[in-house]
Amino acid sequence: MPLDVPTFSYALPDGVDPPGLVAFLRERFDVEAGRATAVTFTVVDTADRRVRDAGADLVLAGTKTPELVLHLAPGAAPLAATAPRTKRWRVEDLPPGPLRDHLAPVIEMRALLSLARVRAEVSAGNVRNADLKTVVRLRLATHAALDTGGEPAPLTSRVEVSGVLGYPKPLARVVAVLTAEAGLVEAPASMADEAIAASGGDPRGIRSKVDVELDPEMRTDRAAIAVLRELADFVEANLPGTLADLDTEFLHDLRVAVRRSRSVLRELKGAFAAEPLQCQRDALRWIQAITSDTRDLDVQLLEWDELVAAVPAERHAALQPARRLLVRHRAAALRRLKVELRGKAYRDAWAGYRAFLDGKLGPARDRPDAKRPLGDVAGERIRKVYKRMVAMGAAIDDDSPAESLHELRKRGKELRYLLEFFGDLWPASVAKPMVKTLKGLQDVLGTHQDREVQADHLRGLAEELAGVVGGPEALLVLGVLVDRLGAEQREARAHFAESFAAFAAADQRKLVSSTFRGPSG
């Protein structure tokens, strides 16, 4: 049952200002208009624009007591909460209340950041009926982006026209007048997007999903380079946030982009000459290695609450020394990471990798897959990795070491990346079910390995913990947690056979072998 009322946003043409538009409307309607107020505010969102993607707008307004103001939908009352002055706000930095309750599931572990400063002149207006009841709402605004490195950059002036529930006809009349008589056209993008672009940012935010136009006929080396360049952009985009430690996801996304790049280099290795390829694979492996400690500790801390939920609430306090230790370890790991990422070795490695992507790849005779159609090469790799996984999984029984499952998981990641980058070259009806069964298998393998890693980490704290105040008590409770993790790992292992059977089912095997073929068949 739809209750939403429509909102239209129009750009004011050059030469028409908000008072002019109000005067125009007053000749036709009873318009009550307030005075324009000048405000300066900051567009706030996570680096990957989660607030915008959830259909909302968040700004920081007010100078004496700054407030975060969340506009959930046009026509709905905004939510506001005082915000401490800081370079970023995580959920725990926001005061408890409706704004935090709304934002928490949207931003999760990401930090809210100031993305653009805007000066605006805003006035509200109402179109009223004969009973002086508001039947259409107007919001008129002129904006200018301030952080342009020079003069403020004027943005599109806008009028937002919102209906009022139960009064569709007056809205239709106002819209008709604005479009047909005043000739207004729909506003181009959101004000926040425009302001971010005018301030030198990307309105889409820092992305993590590769969006490169590929087709099965294209040369494999060109496709690989296009994907790798975009992944390299992601690494560079996430580096400043990682160094500033704005939130944990900058490092996470940086690492994912590096891992995916390594995967492309490995899976499409025939597109590159062997020697420079090995050198770049080594460079990326090193970057992955220097970022591992911090990420591992981030995961420990992010999953801490969920982990300790396994023991009764009255024992949580006893675990605090363990958590404090993790926080200390994480701070130390981050210090080491910053030294590495700011160091010459990293600069050289990255510059070398960029030069590899942007330079000449060498004669095609040294690169057997370079000119082959992408569909052939990628299809071959998908078939081979899948086949290999089927063989590896079939060899796993109850007595197999945990290592076999870990190896299978690694292959699974390879397959997942292949499908993510190149799956669209084949019909979704084939790729989708495959991704689904792969995901089911990877979830089981992931839980199996993560629980082991978590338990190892907790065990690794034991010696140090024994020496701190409250440590022995914490150790007792940690023992319970480690047991619990062990039980969950065993449970995941018990599910392996079932999820592997779905992944390696005869009809799926047949489908993979017949579908993932390129233009040359």
């Binding site: 049952m1 209750l3 026509g75 709905a76 109402n126 009841k133 529930l165 139960g166």
Partner: protein, 248 residues
């Protein structure tokens, strides 16, 4: 969706004023709020400049033969919608009596709106009837305005007894003093002594204030029109108390 109802068997005690102001405050807090004007006099609808008319009539609405979404009206307060009164509500007892399980009828009317609103505030007509029984069945809490007098406690006790003995689903009852004239000794004494030791009477009292009476002229909730006035501040305090007490 939580449901609050302002209710008293007596009229002229400040039910509508409380309903419109608390609903406006809830919307101001970002709750998607619906106000249902169940009183055929349509005072809440009048205050929001909405014609007290339900398309197709109240009978069809209550009997589930018209779509409730079609009769809703947005108010001048953003985030607050109104289900308007209709003069036919004066016969609602008869309509309820004709239908099966009358006490469940109003619940059924609101059911399709469950996901669209966080809070519904029901402004009830003064009576004790099938309408009020249907409201008791639906509401999570009854907000009962009490004018301080010697009979206040007795009336309030009667309501409590009725809900206790006659109603299956028992809403929480929260009374508050309304239209308190601090110049009157009796008002002061009752307000200052009665809440002692009782957790069903709110700490906040709503004063008899000119600005509240003038809502009929301004046709706007006092919390919107004169948010810094004494009356508006009292409603804000009452809303904060109700919100905390009922975990809204």
């Amino acid at each position: 969706m939580k449901v609050l109802a302002t209710y008293n068997i007596k009229g002229g005690v400040g039910k509508t004023s409380a309903a419109v102001n608390l609903a406006a405050l809830a919307a101001g807090d970002g709750l998607r709020t619906l106000l249902w004007d169940l009183d055929p006099q349509g005072a809440a609808s009048f205050l929001f400049r909405v014609r007290p008319k339900v398309r197709g009539g109240g009978r069809k609405l209550v009997r589930g033969r018209s779509d409730v979404a079609d009769v809703l009206r947005g108010t001048d307060v953003e985030g607050l919608d109104l289900l308007p009164a209709d003069f036919s509500y004066r016969h609602m007892d008869l309509v309820l009596d004709e239908s099966g399980r009358p006490s469940r009828r109003l619940r059924k009317v609101l059911a399709p709106l469950e996901d669209h609103y966080d809070l519904a505030v029901l402004d009830c007509p003064p009576s004790i009837s099938l309408v009020s029984e249907s409201v008791f069945d639906l509401a999570d809490a009854l907000l009962v305005p009490l004018i301080p007098s010697t009979l206040t406690l007795r009336t309030f006790q009667q309501l409590g007894d009725f809900v206790e003995t006659e109603v299956d689903h028992r809403p929480e009852i929260v009374a508050f003093f309304s239209m308190v004239d601090w110049r009157k000794r009796l008002h002061r004494e009752v307000v200052e002594t009665l809440p002692d030791g009782r957790d069903d009477i709110a700490r906040t009292a709503i004063p008899a204030a000119t600005e509240v009476e003038l809502m009929g002229v301004s046709r706007s909730p006092v919390v919107v029109d004169k948010p810094r006035s004494r009356g508006a501040r009292a409603y804000a305090a009452l809303w904060a108390e109700v919100r905390e007490r009922l975990a809204i």
